[in-house]
């Protein structure tokens, strides 16, 4: 089976995000009100071959742990869905 995997990498809670803060500061001048807690992160997507969803998730999470996110400053969340094999 193939899975479409999306990994979101964001800064750990409590770690400042100057990029998010800068975006948030400019919002009132564009007429957007009531938007808070803007955080900027990174999105990594890929396709993964695995026997099943459990294995796909395990491999994707190991990849996050070893490469895609640095646990000192970042956290990663994994979303995945089977890829439809179209004839």
């Amino acid at each position: 089976m193939r899975f479409a995997v999306t990994v979101e990498v964001t800064g750990l809670e409590g770690i400042s995000d100057p990029e998010g803060q800068t975006i948030e500061r400019v919002l009132p001048s564009l007429g957007f009100a009531g938007i808070e807690q803007v955080r900027v992160g990174k999105l990594v997507s890929f396709e993964l071959a695995a026997a099943g969803e459990e294995e796909a998730r395990r491999v994707a999470e190991e990849l996050c742990h070893r490469l895609l996110a640095n646990p000192v400053m970042e956290k990663a969340s994994v979303r995945l869905a089977p890829v439809r094999e179209n004839a």
Binding site: S16, N70, V72, M73
Partner: protein, 234 residues
């Protein structure tokens, strides 16, 4: 004469400056491509500045998987000096050979200017010939120099005097004004400022020579059988 390996990753750009500056203090250095997994007979390793693998994902995130990093980790384990300058510091943190991480500068700007640093520990391969409290003018040249770790780790780094250099006027948001640290074994050291770019008065400062000649002394001491730990205890 001591021999050092200076590792070249795709995107490194300070390797020749490092070799030239090391020669000034009597250290023979040769360039080593990152695909090499063994370094032969060398007394220590320098990871120079630059943008290894384009800094893709995070600075150092890809470089840490290069074959040469096995030899770097082995040198670190054996107590030989391993020095990471700027991007090299980032590689060492990503590889887990030094604690913490280097995030984008607090002001979101690339910073390229001279800063004043204070020597906080003289028990490291780069500071054995310095005096505690000595101030050095050194250039920084980075986008991700904002040293980060949790509060507990910060406290421990200061308590164990693993903080080697601090900024007198924090340019990038680093916790505790940290500009350079060493590992617990005190043989692996990483710093964001570039000592090789301050190795001649013509370059604006020769203060980097204090750090590089310390490395030369450290190598001689090590070869005479006086590991850093024994030296600090005496």
């Amino acid at each position: 004469m001591s021999r050092l390996a200076v590792v070249v990753f795709p995107g490194s750009n300070c390797e020749h400056d490092v070799v030239a500056a090391l020669e000034r203090v009597g250290i023979e250095a040769s360039l080593v491509w990152h695909q090499q997994d063994s370094l032969g007979q060398v007394d220590g390793i320098v990871l120079p500045g630059g943008f290894a693998h384009g800094d893709y994902l995070r600075p150092g995130a890809i470089a840490r998987f290069s074959p040469v990093m096995t030899a770097v980790a082995e040198m670190a384990r054996q107590g030989g000096p391993v020095v990471g300058i700027c991007n090299g510091f980032q590689v060492l943190t990503e590889a887990g050979l030094l604690e913490g991480a280097l995030r984008p500068n607090a002001g979101r700007r690339f910073i390229c200017r001279d800063v004043t640093c204070e020597v906080r520990s003289i028990d490291s391969p780069l500071t054995v010939d310095c005096e505690r409290g000595e101030r050095l003018v050194l250039p920084i040249n980075h986008n991700e120099g904002n040293f980060t770790c949790d509060e507990k780790t910060t406290r421990r780094l200061f308590e164990r005097e693993q903080v080697v250099l601090t900024y007198t006027d924090n340019p990038n948001g680093s916790v505790g004004d940290i500009a350079g640290i060493c590992n617990e074994g005190r043989n692996v050291v990483g710093l964001m400022p570039h000592p090789e770019r301050a190795s001649d008065a013509l370059l604006g400062s020769a203060d980097g020579l204090s750090l590089l000649s310390s490395l030369a002394s450290f190598l001689v001491g090590k070869r005479a059988g006086r590991p850093a730990a024994a030296r600090s205890a005496s």
